[in-house]
């Protein structure tokens, strides 16, 4: 008899989703799908709002990576103003973005994924959480807490608060950096670097233990995409897009993110609110690509900071071409944390970092603009059209998790095929199916925008919880 296994909800990720696994009559996995079941709809919500409100509104999409939206949105607004923002403002935005990436990676690695790594994929699910990690490996738990706090403190020292700061504005940032705050951040960097390096050393000792997961966790050929600077180095704030193939050969380079529609198409699936972008010249679904830490380390020529470059060289030695196993997103995340800490230090030591000239002012000079930056989970793009009064007429957001959707689905299928046996289903098997999704660190609150395709049910409830009205579609 055919059987369907449903994992609902998928745990230790940001947002709401489920996984369905279809077994055939012999109990073998026939198909597996990752469904994103929440809907946000920010692109419609913002229509009619002044474009200057966009950074603050879109930052509310997410409590984990509000800074990413703040920056991509502000860059889009810069494009509408057609201004070149002051260098100091660029550097300060970069520091903020790096701090955001560092704290988000710490959340993903230490709080969400380390329970699998420390306690094992088959351990008791009741204890497989950050508190179980605290019990089993105090150093690791402490390092996670300290690193996340470091990233959040940097954000607060720059932008006034840890979550949903409003400091990044069209044309720059709203206030300069105080010398005392710069010094506080610089003082904390050596400790952060020590903790990241210690975690990297520990992580590298686990490879043998997770040999099967390394081999099967979304380990397949695909394209990889991300921003690089003009030296081919890791670039989180600006730069041009590069795509490489599974052998790390450059497929496309120097692509202007503002022209994304020339090379990225967004497919829509009937069973998910998450869109499925693909590289247009290779068609759907062959144009599947991955973004985020693994992709970024696969596309670059070097990181551009001393310690991260040493780790990156070791990372690249593991394979002849690109790292294809998504399990190594964890490894890449740690290397990027190291890069972020070093790069923050570099930027804070630039001579003009305390300059008070941090904002350019202008009226809108264009009616359409695109802004792109690297968010923790990959390339983030905002695209707005405004009318002559500066009101948003149309918006499109392409989110990192969306870029990864095709690969996540393929990964779920690969892991399910390898680990799930219909005749004797065990929790550890299903945990691995969830864990492959966790390697991508999806942020579903950010990325659900495929309104109009998935079956939708809306209920209007009275204060007693009784249904007053109901609309179903699809």
């Amino acid at each position: 008899m055919k059987q369907t296994i449903t994992i609902d909800p998928v745990t230790r990720i940001e947002g709401h989703s489920k996984i369905t696994i279809q077994l055939d009559e012999q109990g073998r996995v026939d198909s597996a799908r990752f469904h994103v079941t929440q809907f946000r709809g920010f692109e419609k919500l913002v229509e009619g709002r002044p474009f200057t409100e966009m950074p603050s509104i879109t930052a509310r999409i997410c409590g984990i990576c509000p800074v990413s939206h703040l920056i991509a949105s502000a860059k889009t607004c810069d494009a509408l103003l057609a201004v070149q923002i002051p260098d100091t403002a660029v550097h300060l935005r970069e520091v903020l973005n790096l701090a955001q990436i560092l704290q988000s990676h710490a959340l993903s690695f230490f709080h969400l994924s380390s329970p699998d790594l420390v306690l094992g994929m088959d351990s008791d699910p009741v204890q497989r959480n950050v508190f179980g990690v605290a019990q089993a490996n105090e150093d690791l738990a402490r390092d996670g807490i300290r690193l996340r706090q470091f990233g959040q403190e940097v954000i607060a020292l720059l932008a006034g608060k840890r979550i949903h700061p409003a400091w990044v504005v069209p044309g720059g940032v709203s206030s300069p950096l105080l010398a005392e705050n710069r010094d506080k951040i610089l003082e904390a960097i050596p400790d952060a670097i020590m903790r990241i390096e210690r975690t990297l050393e520990w992580y590298k000792t686990t490879f043998e233990q997770f040999e099967a997961e390394l081999r099967t966790f979304a380990n397949f050929p695909s394209l990889f995409m991300g921003l690089v600077n003009d030296k081919g180095e890791l670039e989180m704030y600006d730069g041009k897009l590069r795509l490489v193939d599974p052998m790390s050969r450059i497929v496309a380079d120097h692509l202007d993110p503002a022209r994304y529609a020339d090379f990225i198409e967004e497919a829509v699936e009937p069973d998910s609110y998450l869109k499925s972008p693909y590289y247009k010249p290779m068609g759907y679904p062959d144009g599947m690509y991955r973004v985020g830490p693994l992709a970024r380390l696969n596309i670059i020529d070097r990181c551009g900071t001393r310690l991260a470059d040493q780790e990156w060289a070791e990372f690249r030695m593991l394979e002849r071409g690109a790292q294809l196993s998504s399990f190594q997103y964890h490894y890449a995340r740690l290397i990027e944390m190291l890069y972020c800490a070093e790069k923050i230090e570099q930027l804070l030591n630039t001579p003009d970092i305390l300059s008070e000239h941090v904002r350019a002012y202008a009226e809108p000079n264009r009616l359409e603009g695109v802004g792109a930056s690297e968010a923790p989970r990959g390339t983030l793009m905002h695209h707005y059209r405004i009318n002559r009064e500066g009101l948003i007429q149309w918006a499109n957001l392409i989110i990192a998790t969306g870029h990864n959707n095709l690969a996540m689905n393929k990964g779920v299928y690969q892991v399910a095929r390898h680990f799930v046996r219909g005749e004797k289903i065990q929790e550890g098997m299903l945990n691995r199916v969830e864990a492959v999704i966790r390697t991508f660190d999806p942020c579903l609150s950010c990325s659900t925008h495929a309104f109009g395709q998935m079956p939708l049910q809306i209920q209007l409830l009275d204060p007693e919880g009784q249904v007053c009205d109901e609309v179903r579609r699809g």
Partner: protein
């Protein structure tokens, strides 16, 4: 940090659930000992263990469904073992204290100032009865910041 850490917990967009944030607003007009740190959070998170480990005394302020609307109570928090079955979104003051002790080997004196809530729906304002309790709760917090650990007289929960 070596003084008192005050952590106000709640969602200010959910009516009385955000009463602790209103107490913090009130505390800005009160005399607090030097070194007192005020934090407003929607929920407790593991990274607060670092802040907790650096304080000598922690005062949590939170809305309560176990007290009558507008009723206030001071509860002295005792150490409990780390509960491994909790998720990161379910961390309560005792859980944070247990995590702090486990990771940082520190056990600050801790109290909870609980304020009974009435309405937890979408609203940025408090019920009148809960609003009236805000200065009372602020008085309790000020008293705790000045108390010598061990001689405060907490009221029982419930």
């Amino acid at each position: 940090m070596s003084g008192t850490l005050i952590i106000a917990i709640g969602n200010p967009l959910r009516g009385d659930d955000g009463v602790a944030w209103h107490v913090v607003d009130e505390l800005f007009h009160r005399d607090l000992p030097e070194g007192t740190c005020l934090l407003t959070v929607h929920q407790l998170l593991p990274e607060l263990a670092q802040d907790a480990s650096e304080a000598t005394r922690i005062i949590f302020i939170d809305a309560s469904m176990e007290h009558q609307p507008g009723e206030t109570a001071v509860i002295e928090l005792t150490q409990s073992p780390l509960d491994l079955s909790r998720g990161t979104h379910e961390l309560d003051p005792q859980g944070l204290l247990a995590l702090t002790t486990r990771l940082f080997d520190r056990s600050p004196t801790a109290y909870l100032v609980a304020i009974g809530g009435k309405s937890f729906g979408f609203s940025e304002s408090l019920s009148p009865v809960v609003e009236a309790a805000v200065p009372v709760a602020a008085d309790l917090v000020v008293g705790l910041t000045q108390a010598i650990p061990g001689i405060v007289s907490p009221t029982p929960a419930g």
